[in-house]
C-alpha cells in the first residue's frame, strides 16, 4: 500500500469518520483515563467506593484541589504486597508456556491443513473456526468433566490400566495450560495456516531436487517463510492469555496466581476499586509493548498484501 493520499471529503465523508471515532473515544479511550485517575484515588466506604471524585461543577479551584488529593498509595501498596508482583510474573510465565505449547500443537495442524488437497481446505478451515464460535465458557466448562478426579480422563486411564490412582489435574496449573491451549488454538492456527498456504511449493521442490533432506528444507524454507504467521498467532494467544480470568478461575487451583483473577477478586470480593484500577493500569503497561509490536506487524502484513 502506498501512503494513503489525502482524499477530498464531503460532509458525509467526515461523518463516516466521526461516528465510529467518537464512539471509540468515549467508550474505549476515555474509560482508560478514568481507570488511571481512580487508581490514584483512595478507597472509601461510599458509593462509588473511592475519593476524591472529580466534580467539574466545582470549577477550576475544586479541580486543582482534587488533583492535590491524588496519591500513589495504591501503587506503593502493589509493590509492598508480594501477591501482586507474583501474580504478574506468574501470569506472564503461564501465558508464555501456554503460547509455546499452543504453537507446538498448532503448527502441525496448520501445516497439515496447508498440505491437504485444495478441495478439502474450506472444510478444514471451517472445522477450525467452528469451535471459535462456540462459547468460550462452555469450552472451558467441558474440560472440568474430563479432568476431574473421578472425571472421564481418569476413568479411561484407569480402565486401560495405565494408572491405579486418579491423577490430580483439575485445579492445578496443568489444567490451566490445557484450558488456554484448547481455547486459543484456533487463534494460532488461522494466521499460521494463512501464511503456510501462500508458501510457494516450488521452493521446496527445488530444495528436494538439490538433495536437501525434508527436515532441513522445513527448517531452512518453510519455517522462516511462515514466521509472520507464527508471530501473529503467538501474539494473539499470549496477549489475551496474560489477562485471562475464566480459565484460571474454573480450571486452576487456589494457588494458581493470575492477574486477571487477582483483579477480579480485588474488585468483586474486596470491593477495592482504586487498587483494582492500579492493577489494571500496571497490566496495561505490561501489555503495551506486545500490543504495539503486534499492531506494527499486522500493519506490515496488510501493506505487503495490498
Amino acid at each position: 500500500m502506498d501512503k494513503p493520499a489525502p482524499v477530498k471529503r464531503t460532509l458525509g465523508g467526515w461523518a463516516l469518520i466521526a461516528v465510529p471515532y467518537v464512539w471509540l473515544l468515549i467508550f474505549f479511550l476515555a474509560p482508560f483515563l478514568i481507570v488511571f485517575k481512580i487508581s490514584l484515588s483512595q478507597v472509601a466506604v461510599a458509593i462509588p467506593p473511592y475519593v476524591p471524585t472529580f466534580d467539574l461543577a466545582g470549577g477550576w479551584q475544586a479541580f486543582v484541589e482534587n488533583l492535590g488529593d491524588l496519591s500513589l498509595e495504591n501503587y506503593l501498596w502493589l509493590t509492598e504486597d508480594d501477591l501482586y508482583w507474583k501474580s504478574y510474573l506468574s501470569s506472564v510465565v503461564i501465558a508464555g508456556i501456554s503460547t509455546f505449547l499452543t504453537l507446538l500443537i498448532g503448527y502441525p495442524i496448520a501445516y497439515g491443513m496447508a498440505r491437504s488437497p485444495q478441495s478439502l481446505r474450506p472444510t478444514l478451515l471451517m472445522l477450525v473456526i467452528l469451535p471459535f464460535w462456540t462459547s468460550f465458557l462452555i469450552r472451558v466448562y467441558a474440560w472440568i468433566g474430563i479432568l476431574k478426579n473421578e472425571g472421564l480422563l481418569n476413568q479411561l486411564l484407569m480402565a486401560i490400566g495405565i494408572i491405579d490412582e486418579p491423577l490430580v489435574i483439575l485445579n492445578t496449573n496443568t489444567a490451566v495450560y490445557i484450558g488456554i491451549v484448547y481455547s486459543y488454538l484456533p487463534f494460532l492456527v488461522l494466521p499460521l495456516y494463512a501464511s503456510l498456504e501462500r508458501l510457494d511449493g516450488s521452493l521446496l521442490e527445488a530444495a528436494e531436487d538439490l538433495g536437501c533432506p525434508p527436515w532441513k528444507a522445513f527448517w531452512k524454507i518453510t519455517l522462516p517463510l511462515s514466521l509472520p504467521g507464527v508471530i501473529a498467532g503467538c501474539f494473539l494467544v499470549f496477549i489475551p492469555a496474560v489477562g485471562e480470568f475464566v480459565i484460571p478461575d474454573l480450571l486452576g487451583g487456589s494457588d494458581t496466581l493470575m492477574i486477571g483473577k487477582t483483579l477480579w477478586t480485588e474488585f468483586f470480593n474486596n470491593r477495592d476499586w482504586p487498587v483494582s484500577s492500579a492493577v489494571a493500569v500496571i497490566l496495561l503497561i505490561i501489555l503495551v509493548i506486545p500490543i504495539v509490536l503486534f499492531q506494527n506487524q499486522q500493519q506490515k502484513i496488510a501493506e505487503k498484501q495490498a
Partner: protein, 274 residues
C-alpha cells in the same frame, strides 16, 4: 503448497481435530445422561432438557442475553462497517493511527480491563447499570471485530465498479447501498454473526457492566458451574452449541453459494465480452 499430505500431516490433523472436538462431543453426550453425577453414565434420558423448561431464572437470563446480543450486534455492525470503510477508504486524516489503534487494541485487550474501565466510565457518568450498559459495552468491543472482518472483505474489492457509478453521477450514498454494500455483504453478515456470538458468550465484560435485573446467561452458567458440574448445564450448553453450529454452517453455505454464483456471473460477463 501443492504437494500431497504425508501420513504425518494426516495424523496431526486427526489428532488436532479430535482435541478440538472431543470435549464438546463428550459434553453433548453427557447432557443426555440419566444420572445426576455428570461423569457416570446412567442411561439415556432427556429429563434435563425438560427440567430446563421449568427453570425460570435460566430462561429469563437467556432472554436477556438474546436481546442484548441482538441489539449490540446490530449497532456494532453499523459502526464496525463504517470503521472498516474509514480504515480502507478514507485516506489520511488527523489521528488516523489512533483510530486504527483503537480498532485493533480491543481485539487483544484482556476482558477484565475492558470491563473494569467501562464500569468506571458508567459510574463516572452517573449512569445506572443494567441492560443498556451491557449493550453499550458489548457494542464497543464487537464493533472492532466487525471492522476487521469487513475490512478484509473491502481490501480485495474492485474499486472500478464504484468509480464507474460515481462517474455516471451516482451520489456516494446511493453508490454505497447499490454497489459497495451488496459486494461486502458476506463480510457484513459474518461480522454481525461474530458480534452476536461474542455478546452471547461474554461473561467478564457483562459481569462488570451489568446491574440488578440484567443477569445474562453466561453469568448464570458461571455461577452454577462454580457450584459444580450438573447435567442441566450440559443441556443448556448443548442447546447453545447446536444453535451456533447450525447458524455458522448455514451462513457458510450461503456465502459459498454466492461465491459460486459470482464466479459464474463473472465468467458469463467475460465470455460475452470476448
Amino acid at each position: 503448497m501443492t504437494r500431497g499430505p504425508t501420513w504425518f500431516n494426516i495424523t496431526s490433523l486427526v489428532m488436532g481435530f479430535s482435541f478440538l472436538y472431543l470435549p464438546i462431543v463428550l459434553l453433548v453426550i453427557y447432557s443426555f445422561n440419566k444420572s445426576r453425577l455428570v461423569t457416570v453414565w446412567g442411561g439415556f434420558s432427556t429429563e434435563w432438557y425438560v427440567s430446563l423448561l421449568h427453570n425460570d431464572q435460566l430462561l429469563d437470563a437467556a432472554w436477556v442475553t438474546l436481546r442484548v446480543a441482538f441489539v449490540s450486534a446490530s449497532v456494532a455492525t453499523v459502526l464496525g462497517t463504517a470503521a472498516a470503510l474509514v480504515l480502507v477508504r478514507s485516506g489520511r486524516f488527523i489521528g488516523r493511527s489512533l483510530f486504527s489503534g483503537m480498532i485493533f487494541a480491543p481485539l487483544v485487550m484482556p476482558e477484565v480491563i475492558l470491563g473494569l474501565s467501562l464500569l468506571l466510565l458508567f459510574v463516572a457518568m452517573d449512569q445506572s447499570r443494567g441492560f443498556w450498559t451491557v449493550i453499550l459495552a458489548h457494542t464497543t468491543f464487537a464493533m472492532c471485530y466487525v471492522a476487521v472482518v469487513v475490512q478484509s472483505r473491502l481490501v480485495g474489492f474492485d474499486k472500478s465498479i464504484e468509480e464507474a457509478a460515481e462517474d455516471l453521477g451516482c451520489p456516494p450514498v446511493k453508490t454505497f447501498f447499490l454497489i459497495t454494500l451488496p459486494i461486502i455483504l458476506p463480510g457484513v453478515v459474518a461480522g454481525w454473526m461474530l458480534a452476536f456470538t461474542l455478546s452471547l458468550d461474554d461473561l467478564v465484560v457483562a459481569s462488570f457492566t451489568t446491574g440488578p435485573g440484567a443477569t445474562t446467561l453466561p453469568m448464570k452458567i458461571y455461577s452454577q458451574v462454580r457450584l459444580g458440574v450438573t447435567p442441566e448445564i450440559n443441556a443448556v450448553c448443548t442447546i447453545l452449541v447446536v444453535l451456533v453450529t447450525c447458524a455458522v454452517i448455514a451462513a457458510s453455505l450461503v456465502t459459498r453459494r454466492q461465491q459460486v454464483q459470482k464466479e459464474r456471473d463473472e465468467r458469463t460477463a467475460f465470455g460475452a465480452e470476448g
